[in-house]
């Protein structure tokens, strides 16, 4: 663990040096603020406070942005060191490969957390200031930040796995883009197509919600939606959420980082620098 912290410390320095922390925070802040202001229109018609609407639109934003930022940080983790030629020396030191990945994960996760807290926090503050906030909408904001960090963790470890499996950093970047596209865009499109084909049969009623929650991006969306009735109302996802037990989405989102980390470690162990 001491060695993992040593790695995390160096990685944190690197993230600060190469402006990654700053850029990620800036991106989160810009998008969250833009959405908060753009999404302030329908408040009256739904009868919820502005922060609730803001959280609903930021949930949609985070589905796209959290995986993207995480993969952009993760794809370089192993392949970058190997391309540079510094991996062999690092592995000659008495830190296990799991410790190295854990150290990188801690640093990357901390950077993501900072970006999420500042971005969503600022947008939430703006929404609360202008349109009011209640205990429930503040809770929803806190949940959004936490689940966004979890979603980031999923794609960080997937990024590490791709980084270890691919032949170089460029290939890892390409694979990461593919993974992002599949999980965030194509998966939902495929499900939508299946539901349309099935036209309200067994698949739509029984299987579809489970297939959906198996995808971490959808689990993230469902968790935020199901936990808050008013968010569900303003995001129109109440249907799918109500068909599943309450633990399904949290379980999926908590299981993915663990499985992904195990996968990344297994892939990293096969790397011969």
């Amino acid at each position: 663990m001491r060695r993992a912290f040593a790695i995390a410390r160096a990685e944190m320095l690197i993230l600060r040096r190469n402006r990654w922390l700053f850029i990620a925070t800036l991106i989160m802040l810009a998008f969250a603020l833009a959405l908060s202001f753009a999404g302030s229109a329908p408040t009256g018609t739904l009868g919820v406070d502005m922060l609730t609407v803001s959280v609903a639109s930021m949930t949609t934003l985070s589905v796209y942005l959290a995986p993207l930022l995480a993969l952009m940080m993760g794809f370089d983790a192993v392949a970058g060191d190997r391309d540079r030629g510094s991996l062999a020396l690092l592995l000659a030191y008495p830190a296990s490969r799991a410790e190295i990945l854990l150290g990188k994960l801690m640093a990357h996760l901390a950077a993501l957390a900072v970006a999420m807290c500042i971005g969503f926090g600022a947008a939430g503050a703006v929404a609360a200031w202008f349109g009011g906030a209640g205990a429930e909408s503040l809770l929803a904001l806190g949940r959004l930040v936490l689940t966004s960090i979890l979603l980031g963790a999923v794609f960080l470890v997937l990024g590490y796995a791709l980084s270890a499996l691919s032949s170089g950093a460029t290939a890892a970047a390409g694979l990461s883009a593919g993974v992002w596209l599949v999980f965030v865009v194509l998966y939902d499109l495929g499900l939508l197509g299946a539901v349309v084909m099935d036209s309200g049969g067994i698949f739509t009623q029984k299987i579809f919600p489970w297939v959906m929650v198996a995808n971490p991006a959808d689990a993230f969306r469902l968790w935020n939606v199901a936990a808050s009735e008013s968010v569900a109302l303003s995001s129109g996802m109440a249907g799918a959420a109500s068909a599943l037990p309450g633990w399904a989405a949290p379980l999926s989102l908590l299981l993915w980082p663990a499985l992904g980390f195990a996968l990344a470690c297994a892939a990293f162990r096969r790397v011969e620098p």
Binding site: R3, A6, S86, A88, Y93, P94, E272
Partner: protein
């Protein structure tokens, strides 16, 4: 000395890369304080052997023990220092930060500033490695070898990218390591450098160890000829060439190749020629000749 605690003990090591065998039954030992030069062409298996010792790659046959521990185990990695060929680091970190990371990974409370001063990076230690020259990166690599007190130091082409003065420093540091009791393995191309600065020489050819002895031992085994270069006075070169069976190499010189045992007899013969001989040079076989002999260029 307890055999199990030998810094490096390799027995019958086989390594395959897909179907081709890249190391064939390598046996190699290094004693504490011994400096071993590992020589061989590119692709002879030097780096592969080092990576196998580090546990970075798996081997298919034979055994490796580092101070009695398996390669890649925490004990083995803690006992080993490694300088990779053309060492590189993350460009965003400073030399000081990089070395601090290595010290923490090794669990050493080291004098980071002192080490960086020692390798001549005192001025540059708080600059980013991205701004370092190749030689400075190599020096940083050397600084991390000195972290802790390694029982075994594996240096892969340590002089590449270093200017002559840095090379002097490098060998001073290697001697220091050896004096502290580390077994030092230096994989190198720079034959003339390692010649005087190592205790023993091992030569790899296509994954086979073809020689492993001291320089003197290798010379004796190889039986390479001693080169006598006789400079004739006036116009006696032809006569000398005929009488000694040597070869005229220019107007006034004759080159004679003779085995080490015949050397004295040959010298007496030349001395007996009196004034006809103006000067004589004797060139024993150099490591370069031995290397060519053992690595196959002269063989069969």
């Amino acid at each position: 000395m307890d055999n199990a605690k030998s810094p490096l003990q390799i027995r019958a090591l086989d390594k395959f890369r897909s179907k081709t065998q890249v190391l064939h039954g390598i046996d190699l030992d290094i004693a504490p304080g011994e400096r071993l030069a590992l020589l061989g062409h590119n692709g002879a298996g030097k780096s592969t052997l080092i990576k196998a010792v580090l546990g970075l790659i798996r081997h298919e046959g034979g055994s490796i023990q580092i101070c009695g521990a398996a390669p890649g185990s925490v004990a083995a990695r803690a006992a080993t220092a490694f300088l990779p060929e053309a060492v590189s680091f993350h460009p965003a970190l400073t030399g000081h930060e990089q070395l601090s990371l290595f010290a923490r990974l090794a669990g050493e409370r080291a004098d980071i500033d002192g080490l960086l001063e020692r390798v001549g990076l005192g001025e540059a230690m708080h600059r980013r490695i991205g701004a370092y020259s190749k030689g400075m990166r190599q020096r940083l690599g050397l600084a991390q070898v000195l972290l802790g007190r390694p029982k075994l130091a594996l240096l892969d082409e340590p002089t590449s990218g270093l200017d002559p003065i840095s090379r002097q420093d490098l060998y001073a540091i290697i001697n220091e390591l050896a004096e502290q009791g580390a077994a030092v393995l230096i994989a190198s191309h720079a034959l003339t450098e390692v010649e005087a600065r190592t205790d023993r020489i091992a030569i790899l050819r296509k994954g086979v160890k073809v020689a492993d002895d001291t320089l003197a031992g290798l010379s004796a085994q190889a039986g390479l000829p001693v080169r006598l270069r006789v400079q004739a006075s006036d116009a006696h070169a032809d006569r000398i060439a005929v009488e000694t069976g040597g070869r005229r190499i220019n107007g006034a010189s004759v080159e004679i190749l003779c085995s080490p045992q015949d050397k004295m007899a040959e010298l007496r013969k030349i001395a007996a020629m009196g004034d006809a001989v103006a000067d004589i040079d004797m060139v024993p076989p150099r490591l370069e000749d031995l290397y060519r002999h053992y690595s196959g260029e002269d063989r069969r």
